[in-house]
């Protein structure tokens, strides 16, 4: 539990971790242009805990995909930790996702046929870390979410809350710049949901940047800053008490 996980600092950016400028994303669907993002600009600093809110169809998911480097914008610029990622190709994006981003999904997205430890190891496999070091780091990350005794359990042997904690350990294991959580409590009962939110608070207190994508005000209330998205634009961006 006492494990301190620190972000990689990049000195040239004055603490600005995410710098999004005039982001557009246009999908061509059945001959019609859908503007999923229509000129989004925002900055997120290192160590912030931010909630991105919005109803479905607001462009929230598209924004998350772009910030998460799963997708590239049609136009605009996106600088993540000093890297201009908006024009990167598939393989460069994969490297950025591996090094800079830790995903936590609503449906956990663990590999069903791998035990907890192997699931946590996965990002390190793709960064090419040797097996011994990798297992040590993965075990540490599992310990930091309180699952030291579940290393050899398969996902179907774990409760929902435990699965999500495995997913959080996986997100943390490569010391990413941002933890990007998409409705992280959406598939959990309220008690497990609270556990998970406590875990995010602790991660944030350890100096990590956490972005929560959600449509639930209760969850957004955990953040110190709430960005509301509607019709592909930022509707409001306000600091809250957290």
């Amino acid at each position: 539990m006492a494990e301190v996980i620190t972000s990689k600092a990049d000195p040239g950016t004055n603490g600005v971790l995410i710098d999004v400028r005039d982001l557009h994303k246009v999908y061509h669907l059945e001959g019609e242009d859908v503007r999923a993002l229509d000129g989004v600009s925002l900055k997120i600093h290192r160590g912030e805990m931010v909630a991105i809110m919005g109803p479905s169809g607001s462009g929230k998911s598209t924004l998350m995909n772009v910030i998460g480097c799963l997708d590239v914008p049609t136009s605009g610029s996106y600088v993540l930790n000093g890297h201009e990622v908006s024009r990167m190709d598939d393989n460069e994006l994969a490297r950025i996702r591996n090094r800079e981003i830790g995903f936590v999904f609503q449906t956990f997205n663990l590999l069903p046929r791998a035990d907890a430890l192997h699931n946590v190891e996965l990002p390190l496999i793709y960064s090419g870390m040797p097996s011994g070091e990798r297992k040590k780091r993965a075990a540490e990350a599992l310990a930091s979410v309180g699952l030291s005794d579940r290393k050899a359990h398969w996902p179907n042997q774990l409760s929902g809350g435990q699965r999500q904690r495995v997913a959080i350990a996986r997100a943390l294991v490569n010391y990413p710049s941002i933890i990007l959580a998409d409705e992280p409590t959406g598939n959990l009962d309220s008690r497990s949901g609270e556990e998970i939110m406590t875990a995010f608070h602790r991660i944030h207190e350890q100096g990590n940047t956490v972005i929560l994508v959600t449509h639930e005000p209760d969850i957004a209330a955990h953040a110190r800053r709430v960005i509301r998205v509607r019709d592909g634009r930022i509707e409001s961006d306000e600091k809250t008490g957290g």
Partner: protein, 406 residues
């Protein structure tokens, strides 16, 4: 390296989950490799066996026959119009040849043999001169070979094959005993060692008697054939030319006309054998090849299913940082492992099949390391070739769509 190992582990893991499917997937490759190994091993064993048997009796020797080797009915009809050989030609070869060490002659027919109340039919009776290779090519188990005086004095003596001994003289020493061939009695003077089969020809089922005695009994109606041994290897070809010239002039073949007899050499037997086997061989290897291609298509099909089933997994891996190459490698390695598994099982069964043939038939199977290497690399190659396309499909998946896949 670590990533390859990782891919191999992953692949083995996912194949273990579906054991039956994995087995069915590798079946095509298994059968293909099994037959490639068995065919190559058995034919090589056969070739080795035949070449040893054929070549060991043919050192610098060749044979002259009236009909020789016939490949078609027309050829048989045509060749049977040729004049019979006579002793005049034998004498001409003996008198005029300068490059011959020995010239022998033989006639043969099938006959029934009797000793007391025991009889055997279908025995190959050879009438030979003492210097014909048939008279002395087999090592003896007992007694002696036919010799010049036996031929000269038309002695009714016989050298018998191993099987003849077993059938006519069970538990008896045949030496000095009489056997009846047709109307005459022959005294056994020698017994050949067991020889076995060559290409279905039983080499233990014969009786050799002096040519003179043979002709006094059956006349000269059976085909006469000559066997000539050259002085040494350097004049082997020259000896064949010389024999051809002597026979053409004896048989008055006009210049420009083809020979009215055939020369046969051990090399020709080998060549005929090779022609015969290579045809069969190509057909069988092609069949094995078809099995491999079918096996490859099955692998491709299963890999496509596997990619679809694991779309979400691919999405997760990509989100977490797997590059296209990582996904490609994972699936290619899986396909190659399928290929190799089929290959290994195929090698095991192929070697087993070869050994089985060896046990059940006189043919020795020769399983050479390169044959195993060939089988394995074919199987791996099939896995690689048919695995690439599904793997590319997997590698190209869009991570967002893949993550959404149910």
């Amino acid at each position: 390296m670590d990533l390859w190992l990782e891919s191999a582990k992953l692949a083995l893991q996912s194949l273990r989950v579906n054991k039956l499917r994995t087995f069915l997937t590798v079946l095509g490759n298994l059968i293909g490799v099994m037959f490639v190994i068995a065919i190559l091993s058995i034919t090589q064993g056969m070739t080795k066996y035949v070449s040893e048997k054929v070549v060991d009796q043919g050192s610098n020797k060749f044979w002259v026959q009236r009909v020789g080797i016939v490949r078609s009915w027309d050829e048989w009809v045509e060749k049977n119009k040729r004049k019979e050989f006579t002793m005049r030609e034998l004498n001409a070869l003996r008198d005029r040849g300068t490059t011959f060490k020995q010239v022998g002659a033989a006639r043969m027919r099938n006959a029934r043999l009797k000793h007391r109340n025991r009889a055997v039919a279908g025995i190959n009776v050879l009438g030979v001169t003492d210097d014909h290779p048939e008279a002395e090519k087999y090592p003896l188990e007992a007694g002696r070979h036919l010799a010049a005086p036996d031929v000269e004095h038309r002695r009714f003596v016989a050298l018998i094959g191993h099987q003849v001994k077993n059938e006519l003289f069970p538990g008896l020493d045949p030496l000095g005993r009489d056997i009846r061939i047709g109307p005459n009695w022959f005294t056994v003077i020698g017994v050949a060692e067991k020889q076995g089969n060559v290409l279905g020809e039983d080499r233990d089922n014969f009786v050799a008697v002096p040519l003179t005695a043979y002709e006094s009994q059956w006349g000269t109606e059976d085909n006469l054939e000559f066997s000539i041994q050259a002085l040494d290897a350097t004049v082997y070809e020259q000896a064949q030319d010389e024999a051809t010239q002597i026979l053409r002039s004896q048989r008055r073949v006009p210049p420009g006309k083809p020979d009215d007899f055939d020369l046969l050499t051990a090399e020709m037997f080998m060549q005929i054998y090779n022609n015969f086997t290579s045809g069969a061989y190509i057909v069988m290897v092609a069949l094995a090849g078809i099995a491999l291609v079918v096996g490859g298509i099955v692998i491709m099909n299963i890999m496509l299913v596997s990619v679809t089933e694991r779309t979400r997994e691919i999405g997760i891996r990509k989100a977490i940082g797997a590059k296209r190459g990582d996904i490609l490698r994972q699936f290619v390695v899986e396909a190659m492992i399928l290929g190799v598994m089929g290959g290994l099982l195929g090698v095991a069964l192929g070697v087993g099949l070869s050994k089985l043939v060896e046990v059940l038939s006189p043919l020795p199977a020769v399983v050479q390391p390169w044959v195993i290497a060939l089988g394995l690399s074919m199987a791996t190659g099939v896995g690689l070739f048919f695995g690439i396309w599904p793997a590319m499909k997997a590698a190209k998946l869009d991570p967002i769509a893949a993550l959404r896949h149910e």
